[in-house]
Symmetry: none
Subunit: 219 residues, 4 copies
């Protein structure tokens, strides 16, 4: 029982707590998965005790929902705004969109959220549906518009745009998943900058290639 009042046992930080807790929760959920994540670890990383979590969220599931709902939609809206303001070729716009998503999501801690949703979609169908409709399909719709405009103008090849979108961004998504799974085990971790540059180049090449490249027999 120290006589000097050097360090109080805790501080009141009502305003910062939710953000701190969500950040901690993101890290733990992504590392361990929702079920294996222990609330105590979330609390510890946020610098509070177990009970404090319940002052701000009704429980573990609510924490997950708040995390997913709050995190990515704003970034997506930024990108949508950016697309609306664009004045130039569809090709440049596509690059702009993908680069913005890459910077804002793939290269930030937010990259954990797609990994998390992928893992937990089966256990939280309602949340997964929200993510599907409000994030994934909204993102696809944006890109699809751009692609179809580019196809109409002749900038891109004529391809089924619904599939082309998924295929186009697949390499970027894979990087996001890789980052939160096997990358920590790689001897020489992947260089994200180079990866992005090559991926974008190849995806664009696939989208724009002049000569038809026959696939041969299907499986």
């Amino acid at each position: 029982m120290p006589d000097n009042e050097s360090s109080p046992r805790w501080h009141r930080r009502a305003d910062e707590r939710p953000r701190e807790l969500l950040d901690a929760a993101l890290a733990v959920f992504v590392e361990r998965g929702f079920a294996a994540a222990r609330l105590e670890e979330v609390a510890k990383r946020a610098g509070v005790s177990k009970g404090t979590v319940y002052l701000y969220f009704t429980g573990k599931e609510d924490l997950l929902k708040a995390l997913v709902r709050s995190a990515i939609v704003p970034e997506l809206e930024n990108v949508e705004a950016l697309a609306k303001d664009h004045d130039g070729s569809r090709r440049e716009l596509l690059i702009k969109i993908v680069s913005a998503m890459w910077r804002a999501i793939a290269m930030s801690p937010l990259s954990g959220i797609p990994k998390l949703m992928l893992s937990e979609a089966g256990n939280f169908p309602e949340l997964a549906r929200f993510f599907l409709e409000e994030v994934i399909q909204r993102h696809w719709a944006l890109m699809r518009r751009v692609m179809e405009e580019g196809m109409a103008s002749g900038e891109f090849r004529r391809l089924p745009s619904d599939l082309a979108v998924r295929i186009f961004i697949a390499p970027m998504m894979m990087a996001v998943f890789w980052k939160h799974s096997f990358m920590p085990l790689e001897e020489t971790p992947m260089d994200f900058d180079r990866y992005f540059a090559v991926a974008l180049e190849m995806s664009l090449a696939g989208l724009c290639a002049k000569t038809e490249t026959p696939t041969g027999k299907q499986p």
Copy 2:
């Protein structure tokens, strides 16, 4: 084999059990994730009782390890053999390899395993390392060899082969993850055959494109 045995309490032969249990475990682990999967559900799907699982595996984790270790390596070996026997262009070989993997893994129940490993890599580093080295990197090595040969022969563009491999197969991997996460929630589920055809075509186009397709400014 007594034929006057009226109704035996147990039916199946012991040597079918492990396979049945692994199949059931795969389904449940993929749907729920390892931590949230209940062993009782695995047992039920395999048509046995909870206790029986422990006659064949030492526990839940052992079940996961057996699952991962046993499932994909044989398929990969098939593909390696197929590659060794190939006689033709590198392009055709690449198509042959990817198509074989698609059929054997992506379109089979085995597709759950990559999803599972992605989700659980953080909790089972040892198992993840096994999967990284014995499956992922081995698969990459095979494809990389083919790609580099194709680049040397002029069939493919000169690209950093380590990255090109990852990017090339990303659309196929994405389909696998999609299948086990959001696809059940889609109104009109993705058509895998069309997806594969377009993905392969675009990936090949990206790999073979004659004209350099400048990327513009990097992010």
Copy 3:
């Protein structure tokens, strides 16, 4: 780790368990109240571990419900049958009914249940309603019928039968509550047999008294 197999760690008693658990739960709930009762103590008194409770009941509340629903209704039905078979004066029937209830409920461990319901009615309205309708009011209805018949025949005074029933059995109910609250603290605990004899005599006297006994001014 004893080599000899003298005493196994536990026994399978699937059939007896529910009854044992309900008996233990009754004792603990009555002593402590529902909220303060710890499931672990219930389990210990039943000679099992905490987890075993959940093999037979879905939780603490289910245990309470099963307890209340299963315990008293059968006894009440016995008494109803006994009343139907009666052939004699209403006075004798009344005595018979009250004596039977006294023996079957007030003097058995079941006496804890009215005390428990009284305490917990506020927290479990649904259960309380069940008890009110299926036990209390049913019991009252039986007694009321007898009383009204006795009033019609002149055996009893004319009184408001709905109130007279409550008043008539109040002394018996009080004994039940006393038993599970202050009696353990009394230096010389109440003698239930004498109490019942005197109570029945006084209640009957109040019901049958020939001379009107004016009450004087109301408060």
Copy 4:
């Protein structure tokens, strides 16, 4: 008392608080039982915050003790004084005492306290002993004196006075318990005034009945 004080953060005088808190505590404890009562609800009903409770009481248990110790003894003393001043028949005195208790306790919020003590006697033996000795037995002693005097003078029948007291007031106690348990669930709640009138009349009849009313066989 500065009159330029624009808007104080706290309003009430400290010496009103304990009473307000005890009133709130009584209501919550009676509704929920001690264990299930949340101190935050007590605070809210008293119009203060959780922390404030601890400025006046050392904790939840202290609140209960203060509640029980402070509430009923004064009322009992009133009744004792009233008995001392009485000049008239024992019958009238008995009616006076019971009516006074009915008005002061049964028909006031204080009626919650007997219900509370009944429910919590098992968890707070010390407090229960206090209540037993300082309230219950003191009240009984008073009534017993009156009854024995009445028996001596021939106003009442000769009965074991210790039991007769308990039996005599049982209907009044039952009303108190009923009020705080099942009455809120009754379709047409009991009419307390009529109940008291009939109960008093019947109890007096039982006490005064001229003709011995044979009970028949005991159980």
